[in-house]
């Protein structure tokens, strides 16, 4: 009855990386993308199954089988258009999305071999398009409605792109000197080249969006003032406030928050000091505290900046680390060492006020806590001291508080995040929407983009409804 199926390759087409010796000495991107032939070969592995579990697991619902089919047929131009229908930042998502937990997790091919490397294909087609310059199809007729977006991170840029495509006038207010949010200040060059973030932001500007940098909302204008000249406001200000542990000696010289360290290195390009003016101090014995992506990014950056030894100290075990597995592997490959089930309790300084030692306590894992991970419990009397000259505290960030402090009637949680209606991003204040880390606390780039997409849809409906109500008056 059934035709004999052609034999499918079960193994993923691998993507080459910069050699180890070389890459730990530079900030260039570690992974090279697929070449055309490699991309087509990987695309040919896709079974084009009807179920498409990949699409269901994508927070922005990219039509994955279809763009892969177009790659297979070498119709790259159409493939990138297909991706861009749903995802305005594909070159970024192709690099930093946790595909193994999302689109690739339930891939049908994964049941008999390696799942299709959707991330690498997305990256390939996005780079293909970017190198040739994105074309903007006909601009839609202006609706006459204006939307202010606060924060040019993944959530804000997504909202801006989606609303501009619908003909609304969008102004994005960004507090830093460049758009991109965490993509520009947080994720290092070797994982996400900044030229790519700049190109994606330029594409969004080509859609008609105005991006206004150096504009701190809450200081320059309040949300209330924005509502006087905009029909709606989207708040995507992120989680940028660093946690410290509040333990003795934490203000010694040589101790950074991961945010400070990464902002210096990424946004201010301190790795190119003194060509660039902003310096970053990195000693010989660096310890990074924490187990998330920022911890891995800090550790790998410190290594590239000349540290002899870099340790990651994490209070739980390897299994509970919130970072992507791929990042731990990359870090280990590069020579980063891990000290699990340990937590700093205080720091010692030298006579000049610089950190020289870190006292840790060993931990054991108890019952799972509200995060579902087993709670770390200190073991009495297990203290030990390690020599350090640089410490990077990467234990997470909380919500940026400025908008919440300056906006009356905006409901917030006890963690300072903004309360929204999940499906729409609607806040307690009329015309004000929110999404991304400012709502969820630190999460992923793609989940922020998903939230942005939902909010854009809801804002469009809100503006359309408002228009109709005005017309019938």
């Amino acid at each position: 009855m059934s035709k004999p199926k052609p034999k499918v390759r079960k193994e993923v087409i691998s993507m080459s990386k910069q050699g180890l010796e070389e890459r730990i000495q530079n900030f260039n991107e570690v992974a090279f993308g697929y070449a055309e032939e490699q991309a087509v070969a990987e695309a040919e592995r896709c079974l084009q199954c009807k179920k498409a579990p990949c699409v269901k697991a994508c927070p922005v619902e990219v039509d994955i089988p279809e763009f892969i089919r177009l790659i297979k047929e070498r119709r790259f131009d159409e493939a990138i258009k297909k991706v861009k229908e749903k995802n305005s930042l594909p070159a970024i998502c192709g690099r930093v999305c946790p595909q193994e937990e999302q689109c690739q997790a339930d891939c049908t091919m994964g049941k008999i071999g390696d799942p299709i490397s959707i991330g690498r294909l997305e990256r390939f087609v996005a780079d293909w398009g970017r190198e040739r310059g994105y074309e903007i199809s006909q601009k839609p007729a202006p609706t006459g409605k204006r939307v202010a977006v606060v924060g040019a991170g993944p959530a804000g840029l997504t909202v801006a792109a989606d609303l501009a495509k619908l003909g609304h006038e969008v102004v994005v207010f960004e507090a830093l000197n460049k758009p991109g949010g965490v993509l520009i200040y947080g994720i290092p060059e070797f994982r996400l080249p900044k030229a790519i973030v700049e190109a994606e932001a330029e594409y969004i500007e080509k859609l008609g969006v105005t991006i206004k940098t150096n504009a701190v909302i809450g200081k320059l204008y309040t949300v209330k003032e924005l509502l006087e000249s905009f029909d709606a406001v989207f708040v995507g200000t992120g989680a940028g406030l660093p946690h410290f542990m509040r333990i003795p000696g934490e203000n010694l010289c040589g101790i950074y928050s991961a945010n400070e360290f990464l902002i210096r290195v990424n946004l201010m390009k301190a790795y190119k000091f003194p060509e660039y003016d902003t310096p970053v101090w990195v000693g010989k014995k660096v310890t990074v505290v924490g187990g998330g992506n920022s911890a891995m990014d800090s550790a790998r950056s410190a290594l590239r900046l000349g540290a002899d030894e870099v340790w990651v100290v994490y209070r739980r075990s390897r299994k509970e680390m919130p970072t992507r597995l791929e990042e731990v592997e990359n870090a280990e490959e590069e020579g980063i060492k891990f000290k699990f089930l340990s937590n700093p309790v205080r720091y010692f300084g030298d006579e000049r006020g610089w950190v020289k030692g870190m006292e840790c306590i060993a931990m054991e894992l108890g019952e799972p806590d509200e995060s579902g991970r087993r709670r770390p419990i200190p073991i009495k009397g297990s203290e030990f001291v390690i020599d350090v000259d640089t410490v990077i505290v990467a234990i997470g960030n909380t919500a940026n508080p400025l908008i919440q402090q300056t906006t009356k009637g905006l409901e917030v949680t006890r963690w300072g995040t903004i309360v929204i209606e999940e499906e729409t991003g609607k806040t307690s204040k009329e015309g004000v929407y929110a999404g991304g880390d400012i709502v969820s606390g630190v999460a992923t780039v793609i989940s922020a983009m998903g939230a942005g997409k939902r909010a854009a849809k809801a804002i469009h409906e809100y503006l359309t409804k408002k228009e109709k109500a005005n017309n019938t008056k």
């Binding site: 507090a175 000197n177 150096n214 201010m268 003016d277």
Partner: protein, 282 residues
């Protein structure tokens, strides 16, 4: 409200106050409309520049300008000093930090040193305008380094001048001890070198006079994201950029502040050397 795409920020006035200390008036309409005394801006001269925090000296909402006074102490400030009227800088961000508490306290003593006399004037004027009696005390290393004397003369009911070497006015802070003994002072505001603010805070402590210090430690973003500017106040860690820049001088750990301020001294020197060499070779 009108908002265009990001544009460069133009220097509308540049005035050399004394050698290596310049006053800059920048065109920055939106910032000017919101600025209050005590707040600061962060500027960046060009694409490779660092973010430089400067406490504002004034803002003119009608004219749409803000004013800062900058002392050339390193590469970035020197580079700014090379610019002329009509030139532009790449980034200008503000107003940052909490505004100073400007209320009717009675007699306010404003003590300023070095380049910080200029932003202190912004506060002294505001205190005076709402009916405080304002006593000023301004100083510099030597007489010819003194700035904003005429402005302070206008803003204060009385003005004392002091220099480290005694070339103008009294020598050192001796006049302050006498003032504190003889007068009833309700509030002290001090801006200047950390050592000076520390000494002022120590002098007022015994009489329990509320003493406000304005702190601009090392900063990167200036919006609470990096924590480089953390200072210990009353045993708690605060971020000068968002919790300050004004703090209770009796609660500040000045030793820690001075140590942290020196963290990048070797790099600052290196950058300066490179800059100077570049300048002489071109």
């Amino acid at each position: 409200m009108k908002e265009g795409a990001t544009s460069l920020y133009k220097i509308v006035t540049k005035q050399e106050l004394v050698p290596h200390i310049n006053l800059f008036e920048f065109s920055a309409k939106e910032i000017a409309a919101k600025t209050k005394p005590g707040q600061f801006i962060i500027l960046r001269v060009d694409e490779k520049g660092e973010r430089v925090p400067l406490t504002m000296t004034g803002a003119d909402a009608e004219k749409g300008t803000i004013t800062v006074v900058c002392h050339e102490v390193g590469k970035s400030t020197k580079q700014l000093g090379q610019l002329e009227e009509g030139d532009c800088i790449l980034d200008l961000l503000g107003p940052l930090g909490k505004p100073a508490e400007i209320e009717k306290f009675g007699t306010v003593l404003c003590i300023g040193g070095g380049v910080m006399v200029a932003p202190l004037y912004f506060q002294a004027k505001a205190f005076h305008e709402i009916g405080n009696r304002v006593i000023g005390g301004i100083g510099a290393r030597t007489g010819d380094q003194l700035i904003f004397e005429n402005e302070m003369q206008e803003a204060c009911d009385e003005l004392y001048v002091s220099t480290d070497d005694g070339t103008r006015g009294c020598k050192g802070l001796g006049f302050l001890e006498e003032l504190l003994k003889e007068r009833k002072i309700d509030r002290v505001v001090t801006m200047g070198p950390i050592l000076m603010m520390k000494m002022v805070s120590e002098l007022t402590r015994s009489q329990d006079i509320p003493t406000i210090v304005n702190l601009i430690p090392l900063m990167v973003d200036g919006m609470g994201m990096c924590g480089a500017c953390r200072v210990t106040v009353g045993g708690r860690t605060m971020f000068a950029c968002v919790d300050g820049p004004d703090f209770d001088g009796h609660q500040v750990d000045f030793e820690e502040l001075m140590t942290r301020l020196k963290m990048y001294s070797p790099q600052e020197k290196l950058a300066f050397v490179f800059y100077e060499e570049d300048g002489s070779s071109s």
